[in-house]
Symmetry: D2
Subunit: 341 residues, 4 copies
Amino acid sequence: MVSFESDYIAGAHPKILERLAETNMESLVGYGEDRYCRMAEEKIKKACNRPDAKVHFLVGGTQTNQVVISSMLADYEGVIAATSGHISVHEGGAIEFSGHKVLALEATDGKLNAGNIDAYVNTFYADGNHEHMVFPGMVYISHPTEYGTLYSKDELAAISAVCRKHNIPLFLDGARLGYGLASRQTDVTLPDIAELCDVFYIGGTKVGALCGEAVVFTHDNAPKHFITKMKQRGALLAKGRLLGIQFDTLFTDNLYMEISHHAIEMAERLKSLLKEKGYRFYLESPTNQQFIILDNAQMAELGKHVCMSFWEKYDDSHTIVRFATSWSTTEEDLRKLEEYL
Amino acid sequence: MVSFESDYIAGAHPKILERLAETNMESLVGYGEDRYCRMAEEKIKKACNRPDAKVHFLVGGTQTNQVVISSMLADYEGVIAATSGHISVHEGGAIEFSGHKVLALEATDGKLNAGNIDAYVNTFYADGNHEHMVFPGMVYISHPTEYGTLYSKDELAAISAVCRKHNIPLFLDGARLGYGLASRQTDVTLPDIAELCDVFYIGGTKVGALCGEAVVFTHDNAPKHFITKMKQRGALLAKGRLLGIQFDTLFTDNLYMEISHHAIEMAERLKSLLKEKGYRFYLESPTNQQFIILDNAQMAELGKHVCMSFWEKYDDSHTIVRFATSWSTTEEDLRKLEEYL
Amino acid sequence: MVSFESDYIAGAHPKILERLAETNMESLVGYGEDRYCRMAEEKIKKACNRPDAKVHFLVGGTQTNQVVISSMLADYEGVIAATSGHISVHEGGAIEFSGHKVLALEATDGKLNAGNIDAYVNTFYADGNHEHMVFPGMVYISHPTEYGTLYSKDELAAISAVCRKHNIPLFLDGARLGYGLASRQTDVTLPDIAELCDVFYIGGTKVGALCGEAVVFTHDNAPKHFITKMKQRGALLAKGRLLGIQFDTLFTDNLYMEISHHAIEMAERLKSLLKEKGYRFYLESPTNQQFIILDNAQMAELGKHVCMSFWEKYDDSHTIVRFATSWSTTEEDLRKLEEYL
Amino acid sequence: MVSFESDYIAGAHPKILERLAETNMESLVGYGEDRYCRMAEEKIKKACNRPDAKVHFLVGGTQTNQVVISSMLADYEGVIAATSGHISVHEGGAIEFSGHKVLALEATDGKLNAGNIDAYVNTFYADGNHEHMVFPGMVYISHPTEYGTLYSKDELAAISAVCRKHNIPLFLDGARLGYGLASRQTDVTLPDIAELCDVFYIGGTKVGALCGEAVVFTHDNAPKHFITKMKQRGALLAKGRLLGIQFDTLFTDNLYMEISHHAIEMAERLKSLLKEKGYRFYLESPTNQQFIILDNAQMAELGKHVCMSFWEKYDDSHTIVRFATSWSTTEEDLRKLEEYL
């Protein structure tokens, strides 16, 4: 068996385990006030080219989305997201649990469109009855999206401009941010994101860490008493060091980008392999997730040797499956896959 | 000026005011425990032909939707509703405020389709990942819908059957129920609704009362400690008599249906008038709300003499407007309208 | 039988019913935008001597407390209240339902003490760990309290000063405000309250109305999009006229104070009567609620003829009961009571 | 400097880091479905002597309290806890954020008393007005408590009996459970807890793990769709292995108890040392937390060399400080402390 099931099938990058072991017996204060958290914050601010940023560390993606969104919205506001967005579908209603509506907009290949957002907000305010409706209070995008696709710098700038025009923050879910930044088909850099977004997070769980997401408030705009808000939502880790040390390691010697490039290299070879063998792609993805349409018999056969992720039904006899590479994917994994295909 | 702006532009039916005056100085216990509430409950149960029903009185529609839905759902569940449903759009996120997601399904003329609901629930359970998603825990329909349309008895029975198959309750928002029951084009009776739904409400605010909605749990299925749940949501009226006396009056001597028939009579004459004059209907509505497409200049001109409700933009030069009749609409109102058209 | 069970046993003051009847067929816009709501607002602002106030009308007390408190607190904040405060005990957890903690402080005869509030807030901020605690974000007091007692002007000014020193709003629950203002033992006027509080409400339900509470934000400090917040909490009445007309009537020709004085006159005579007959008072109340300690046999006997309210167990053989007068109490009621005592 | 500031100042027990490294490159499914989670569950069930238990792994204590309490309560219910309980004071209102009230009862040295709980519940149901109040729906106790104290087996059995009499679950917060079980002054075993409680958790964060708490539902009573509830609260860890491997290690070869005994040994020597030197104890604690009253000058001086935790003001010139030992405390730490005292 070989697994391309997800990008969180392995533990952590070995350098992270090493650093955890090296620092293990140091006495450190809790709740993210330790020096590793501060060092990681400084390195991230530098990588983002934002001296006025503030960085907080959370444990997982759904938690981060819930904490950030519900901390930044007024109670009469909801968050605009793609109908296929992670918060719209796959987080068990975590945003609604915190009292807010997800205002779902149609998306193409997982991506929102600046014009559609603008039209939505304009229509909202033009409606004489809008005081009886949920105000659009934030835009949430994923980059890469849930389908592995990416916004171009122009697309991102256009969405950012719409948000700033309407004075609502732009939040970018970067659970797989490394794989977006390392893509061969992107013109978007980390400083671009930090400039165009009001808040975003740098995913650790899927990019080399045991767990952890680094939330970046890009311009002195962290919500007041954010620590209390994290605590109140059960999201403040006692041993903050676990997150600080991991992100400090990932942002030392370019490790985060290095392992992201590796995953993309593996993804590109996976794509070539699948194309060579004549597999049909559901869409063109420039990142580490590849979506293939298999007929159901073929899927059953391949499933005996290869773990992949059932995505959705395509039609009665076909299924969309996802192959994901990650920092942990090896050449041996690809060799085995080739054999089974 | 004459107003067709909504079905809540007037106070209460005169008989209600009379009864409030007659009973005014009686000493009555609070919180819905008084004898008028109990009398109203008995009359409603009889009208519904459900001796095993339980009736509670609430003040308004959004409140009722929030209290009923959040009281009946488990926390991991959301409510299926039409994208155009009142809870989906025009209640300021009241359902999300209570922690639950509205699972919006496409609708036709405001109506959900049994097959679509069934497909949605089947797809949900077929998804290997559904434990990460919001469970469908209730179906919400409006009857009449927000577009004035009605479910046929067959359509309602089909939706009911889907709900019972999946063991999720069917909730009918009857804010304008009288106007649905009195329509010339319906085969649905109050006992039908009581049999096919698990919970529904009989709208008072828009059908002759100063305020008030009567929630009917149809088969001994009121949530445990519903009074406490009402209190907790700020929805338990101290002087419950205000609601009890109104519904007792509405359900005495067939008043509720009588005034509903009057509104329908007025609506039918309004329709004829608009048709005669060549106005274009947005859709065919068999109840008290009529939707007309006006060009914007025409709308401005007519607006000098007639209050109507801006509904939504039709295209750049046309607007959909709503004319509503109600128990309080008079022949004189129609005569004036004819003059201005 | 004669009833002193509560101050909401009767309907509405006859002038209110008259005005409802007179205005009944007027076409009015909904949701509190009608001219009666605006007239009532102007009269209340004038009575408060606050041209910069904003008035909103809600239906009941628990609803008002929930809407006001949850609309004004940041999510990391709770509300300071007496352990005996209505929101602490008798609202089914409505504040917690909206996500906020009630920070209960010990009280004397239902009253908070400025020094205790100050000490609480100082201790909070002195605690090195306070970022892990609920921030004190508002002070809630009842006037009259749940025990019928009143703050003196000095006491109220002292609490107000503490609140302003710490920059947290003071909210006064005036469900029975009329009976406080009309007391023979008060030096607090409506303009005093409007000056010393940031928000308060003028109770209607218990002072002559069918239902309704008038919330006064005293200095241009109504929360942004308060209408949407009301809607979202199910608290925006469609026929706002019902509230506007009632408060317009109550604030015309001094009716609110006149009927409050009547209730106090009745309460004073009730007190004299009870004292004459040798009944034991639980505490000295200067308003319409009187608390008497009865032995349980006496209570059972008296209960055959007089409705009163069981308050709490005093000891194994005695019970505290409440007698309440109101605008609707008559001399005949007192005469009957005298007979039964 | 030497630190006795808390029991979470160090990383993880070295065996845990070893196991994380050994298993690091194994492909495992996510979300707690991996074999290490299942192995850990089996070992915990065995240690608890409860074959019918169900174990779930969460990341931290506040999160666990929020998820367990809000998952098990009906919406009209609150949780009984000591006024000094962690959920009452130091979790930023996490329980209220989830919509529920903490019903705080007076406690002695952090401990609730069975008789008081019983009286509280009896009084609640005896109150004629209890439908307007928050129902007691669970009892929460900490063992050890926030003051390091322990319930005896008899005390625990008495509380359990009260809960079962009233049919409300007993939840034990075991954030420091190991240190309670290893105390020299306890007669309570892990199987006792599993028998007497309905749900409890075995703390990892403070007892050798990087993070993690193992929730044990003791008798087939895990809430329906608990995984979805965790997800909805942002509490479902993608790499569940991180928790599974840690608890599997802690429950292999008695490691959890072994390191707990070490902490207690260190605590007993700390106590002896402090007593020898004439320090004054705030209370007698049989576990790893020791509370000492220092005069403020003494505290400042000692603070130059020793990290300890400011607990609360004792009087104007004295402060209560806490010294905590843990699995990571060394003889060298004690030797240094002796020097500084």
